[in-house]
């Protein structure tokens, strides 16, 4: 029953907000599954020339999974934060798949993942950013989260601040320095 499930997701989200970290582990597969399913469904009916945007998708999944009466602005940011992680995983796994295809694979791509590949962005970018971000997370988890929310979920500075419960000034600093660090790492690995 979709209704029962949507309640579960809301409950998980609220639990997560109240400090139950395990709730995120349960939440993510639901969000991931829903994102992929929805994307696949939309793609079958996609009109030509219409690119499905992942932010719109996440938005829709949010509306679908979350009981609006119980969730609020903060939950929305939390949800986007969870979805950020999911979008990151989908993008990275797709980039990997595409790379392996170029090296001789032959299977058809998953339609959804095709659709959310950013236009003009090279696959290696995504993979390299992801790898560098993993290293950054070892050093500074908060900075890595900021990048995930800003870059993968497309949240604004303000939205990121609200999702993480820190000030916008802090987000700006973290964001700048994280970009500097990542930029340096990527330049080094590109050499």
């Amino acid at each position: 029953m979709p209704l029962a499930r949507s309640k579960d997701v809301t409950t998980l989200l609220l639990e997560w907000r109240n400090g139950n970290r395990k709730a995120l582990d349960e939440l993510t597969p639901l969000v991931y599954g829903e994102l992929r399913q929805l994307a696949a469904r939309y793609l079958r009916r996609e009109r030509p020339g219409h690119t499905l945007q992942s932010t719109a998708l996440v938005h829709e999944v949010y509306l679908k999974l979350i009981d609006q009466r119980r969730a609020d602005l903060q939950d929305r940011n939390q949800f986007f934060a969870a979805a950020a992680h999911t979008v990151r995983r989908i993008l990275v796994s797709h980039a990997r798949k595409r790379q392996s295809l170029k090296r001789g694979g032959g299977a058809t791509l998953l339609a959804f993942e095709e659709s959310i590949t950013p236009i003009g962005r090279k696959d290696w970018d995504i993979i390299a950013i992801d790898t560098a971000l993993q290293s950054l997370a070892q050093l500074d988890p908060q900075q890595a989260r900021v990048v995930e929310l800003r870059f993968f979920a497309g949240l604004s500075i303000k939205g990121t601040a609200e999702a993480l419960g820190i000030s916008t000034a802090t987000v700006s600093r973290e964001w700048d320095l994280a970009r500097a660090w990542l930029h340096r790492e990527l330049s080094r690995s590109a050499l």
Binding site: L14, R17, Y42, R45, T51, L52, Q53, S54, T55, A56, L57, H59, E60, L63, K64, Q68, R69, R70, A71, D72, L73, Q74, D75, R76, N77, V87, R88, L91, P118, R121, I126, I129, L139, D140, V147, R150, F151, F152, A153, G154, L155, S156, K158, G159, T160, E162, A163, G165, S167, T168, R173, D176, L177, R179, A180, W181, L182, H183, R184, S187
Partner: protein, 830 residues
């Protein structure tokens, strides 16, 4: 590198970034001292920083930016400029292409947001807005889709100032501000009655136009264009922390109380000239703490104001929603009392609070000390009557209960009962119903073991079910949906009755709920369960006999006997007659006690008709005719009292129709036809006035059917086929509306079979072979359609009654029809 080292690097790097670029090197030297590796590390980071450009600034999967539509034409409007941009849409100022003077605001959904789901939401919200017609709410004018398929809404363009700016700039006096505010309350009240909660009432959403009248913007739009207020949003529907209620910040359900709070904040702002809270932080945690825990300064501490106004503002802004005003109307009324120099309820509330405190301190309080409290209150200026008002208000203060009551009473009663009698009202009710289902289900989830709330919910579900399609009233033909609502009501009342706190009234309501559920089940084929529910209801009522007033008891027993009579119709006719007689007696007693009551009249008239019907089946025609004539007389009185009363006009056709039947059975076929034609005329008029009234449609089909049958008795077979054909068309369309209804199938089957048989008779009476074949061929599809319906009905179990008769008829006549066609077909001749 380890996290500790990184933290050090980070601190140094940030410190360097805080100073001007040309001073960074020097600052870096100072901070690093002799730590060369630290210096190198930060230096390379700073170099990278200088080189960043827009690295990573475009999100991995960002939607393409929306191009502005400025200068373009949308529908019949010319876009002038973008006024605001939100997370999901852009608002433009536009003019009508045919009339540049006419300004409108157009909200266009963003590209990438136009997924099917969003589009559906957009449409839903558009419907809600369309129903929200209030002079002080910005009106929805039009809507459509752009060339690339994105939906848009055209709204009234409001040129004005935010209400707070207007009041300050114009230097309005306090009474002037209060009067302006009361207009806002009226607009919010009207929206609440339409089940729309604004959720984002704030000064910038309430504009005052040049003529000094307020207009509310973004009603429902907040929720639609910008579900949950994206963080990147600028002006559209962002939940403004200054106006957000404690429950919003806590993530609790949002309802009308949320808007009451926001009205309180607005009133505070208008009176004090500044908002109750000013936040220096953006931390949600901090804002939540402030709003949920800290009392704002009283408005009178900001500006000189009478204490009564403090009380009103703080009551509206109460942190506990159940202590706020129950509606915008009540808030407005209290301000009205202030303006008229009367005591305000916000203050009475405090008296009562003090009285309760007093009693709590003196646990041994006797009657004497209670009287002392009263005397004290009287001395403080509150009369006993006011205390009672306050107490009643407190008893009703559980706000969720109040929401349900609003729904059950305001919406259902006023709108439903009000519009029920008006022809053409069916479409309008559908909107209300859909909205109500969602709200009630949500409230039920939150009800827990709160009996008061569950009672209200039970009542609300009963009313809802009635609107959804209690058979026997103008309805939306959805007995199944009604059954679902009635079952929810039954469940709630059973729980209450089984709990220790169940009262006589609860048991009455349970019996009532059983009755309604039974009626809905009856219509969807659940007759066995319906019967057991009705027996349960009768038992409850008989057990309560000694505890109810005779009139009340009469009504309820009358309906129980009536329905038990219905159940006996098939199995035990004498028992059916017996029960109907008891029902008629009970209703006659009630009508004698309360003459001229339309409900009592209708009940008695129905019981008389059913008594007549059961007498007909026992072939007691003379006695049956007396019952119907009694019923007809009552219905004529009802129509005389209210010629608009569609129900009474429909009811009298039932009497006419059965009198027609009796006349036909007694051999007066012409007389019968006269009555049936009367029925047809009345029902046609009812259908013409409200084509969606399915009950009248069904009745009209029956009228044509009866006319067809009577015409056949008169050997006017040609005319009979025309009548049957009209009946058939209506039956088909009714089945399409409710394809699960077995009754609709039975009716369609028998109508088709009769129509086919009439063609068959015409064929038999025709000599010329081609014409004869053509008539048989006209009969065939109708036999087949009847056979199809019968086959579908067999899937539900063995056929009974009319279905069985039709089944036998089709089994007999369809092969004859096929044989005749085979014999006459040219191919067979070859």
């Amino acid at each position: 590198m380890n996290p500790e080292r990184w933290l050090q690097i980070k601190q140094v790097a940030n410190a360097c970034l805080d100073v001007e670029p040309n001073q960074r090197e020097a600052r870096l030297g100072e901070l690093c001292g002799s730590d060369v590796s630290l210096l190198d590390e930060v230096k390379s980071l700073l170099a990278s920083h200088a080189d960043l450009g827009d690295f990573l600034e475009t999100a991995a999967a960002d939607p393409e930016p929306d191009e502005l539509l400025t200068g373009q034409q949308i529908g019949s409007y010319q876009i002038r400029e973008a006024v605001a941009e939100g997370g999901m849409g852009t608002v433009y100022r536009a003019v009508r292409a045919s009339d540049f003077q006419k300004q409108v605001a157009i909200k266009v959904i963003k590209r990438g947001m136009d997924t099917n789901f969003m589009l559906r939401r957009f449409r839903q919200e558009r419907q809600i807005l369309a129903g929200l017609d209030h002079p002080h709410v910005a009106r929805l004018l039009d809507g459509g889709a752009t060339a690339d398929g994105r939906p848009y809404l055209v709204m009234e363009y409001i040129e004005g100032r935010a209400i707070t700016d207007y009041c300050e700039e114009e230097g309005l006096t306090i009474p002037e501000r209060l009067r302006l505010f009361r207009i806002v309350c009226a607009a919010v009240q009207s929206a609440h009655q339409n089940l729309v909660v604004h959720r984002d009432l704030k000064p910038s959403n309430i504009l005052v136009t040049a003529d000094g009248l307020p207009k509310l913007l973004d009603f429902g739009i907040a929720k639609m264009l910008d579900p949950d207020s994206g963080p990147t949003v600028t002006s559209l529907g962002l939940m403004t922390p200054e106006c957000a209620s404690p429950e919003q910040l806590r993530g609790e359900p949002i309802n009308t109380g949320t808007d009451i709070y926001a009205l309180g904040v607005l009133l505070y702002y208008l009176l004090a000239g500044e908002p109750p809270y000013r936040f220096t932080t953006r931390s949600v945690e901090e804002i939540r703490r402030l709003v949920c825990e800290i009392e704002p300064r009283k408005p009178s501490e900001v500006r000189a104001l009478p204490e009564d106004l403090d009380k009103i503002v703080l009551k509206a802004m109460h942190k506990d929603a159940s202590h706020r005003y129950a509606s915008a109307e009540q808030l407005s009324e209290d301000i009205g009392r202030y303006l008229a120099g009367q005591p305000v309820t916000a203050r009475i509330d405090t008296f009562q609070y003090r009285a309760l405190k007093f009693l709590a301190r003196h646990k041994t309080a006797s009657a004497a000390s209670a009287m002392a409290v009263c005397a004290l209150l009287a001395g403080m200026g509150a009369t006993l009557a006011e205390v009672r008002v306050a107490r009643m208000e407190r008893a009703r203060a559980e706000r969720r209960s109040n929401d349900v009551r609003r729904l059950a009473e305001s919406l259902m009663s006023e709108l439903h009962d009000g519009v029920q009698k008006l022809p053409g009202s069916t479409g309008m009710r559908k909107l209300i119903v859909d909205r109500a289902v969602t709200s009630l289900d949500a409230l039920t989830q939150d009800a827990g073991s709160d009996d008061g709330l569950r009672r209200e919910l039970g009542k609300a579900y009963l009313r809802l079910g009635e609107v959804q399609g209690e058979p026997g009233k103008a309805n939306l033909g959805s007995a199944q949906a009604a059954g679902v609502s009635f079952r929810k009501a039954v469940k709630l009342y059973e729980e209450i009755v089984n709990a220790a706190s169940g009262t006589v009234q609860d048991r009455r309501e349970l019996a009532n709920a059983y009755g309604k559920l039974s009626t809905a089940l009856w219509d969807t084929g659940g007759e066995t369960e319906a019967r057991s529910l009705d027996v349960k209801a009768l038992r409850i009522r008989q057990a309560l006999a000694s505890r109810l007033a005779p009139v009340e008891l009469g009504k309820e027993l009358g309906s129980s006997y009536f329905i038990i009579g219905v159940h006996h119709l098939r199995s035990d006719l004498p028992a059916a007659v017996e029960n109907y007689r008891k029902s008629v007696e009970a209703y006659e007693r009630v009508l004698r006690a309360e003459p001229n009551s339309p409900v009592n009249m209708r009940n008695l008239s129905m019981a008389q008709k059913y008594l007549g019907g059961s007498l007909i089946t026992q072939h007691h025609y003379a006695e049956a005719l007396r019952s119907y004539e009694a019923a007809q007389a009552i219905d004529e009185m009802r129509i005389a009292a209210d010629p608009q009363d569609t129900e009474a006009r429909m009811d009298i056709t039932l009497a006419y129709s059965d009198i027609g039947y009796i006349l036909r059975e007694q051999g007066d076929v012409r007389g019968a036809l006269g009555y049936y034609e009367k029925v047809e005329r009345l029902r046609s008029a009812i259908v013409a006035a409200d084509p969606k009234d399915e009950r009248a449609q069904s009745g009209l089909a029956s009228a044509y059917f009866n006319i067809g049958r009577t015409l056949r008795l008169l050997h006017q077979t040609q005319e009979a086929t025309a009548a049957f054909e009209k009946a058939r068309q209506i039956r088909e369309s009714l089945l399409a509306l409710d394809s699960a209804s077995s009754r609709a199938k039975v009716f369609l089957a028998s109508t088709c079979a009769y129509l086919a048989a009439a063609y068959a008779e015409l064929a038999r009476g025709t000599k010329q072979p081609e014409a004869r074949l053509a008539l048989w061929r006209q009969a065939l599809p109708h036999y087949r359609r009847a056979a199809e319906m019968i086959a579908a009905l067999k899937g539900n179990g063995p056929l009974t009654g009319e279905a069985a008769e039709t089944g036998a008829q089709v089994d007999r006549e369809l092969p004859q029809c096929l044989a005749a066609i085979a014999e006459l077909s040219p191919s067979a001749a070859q």
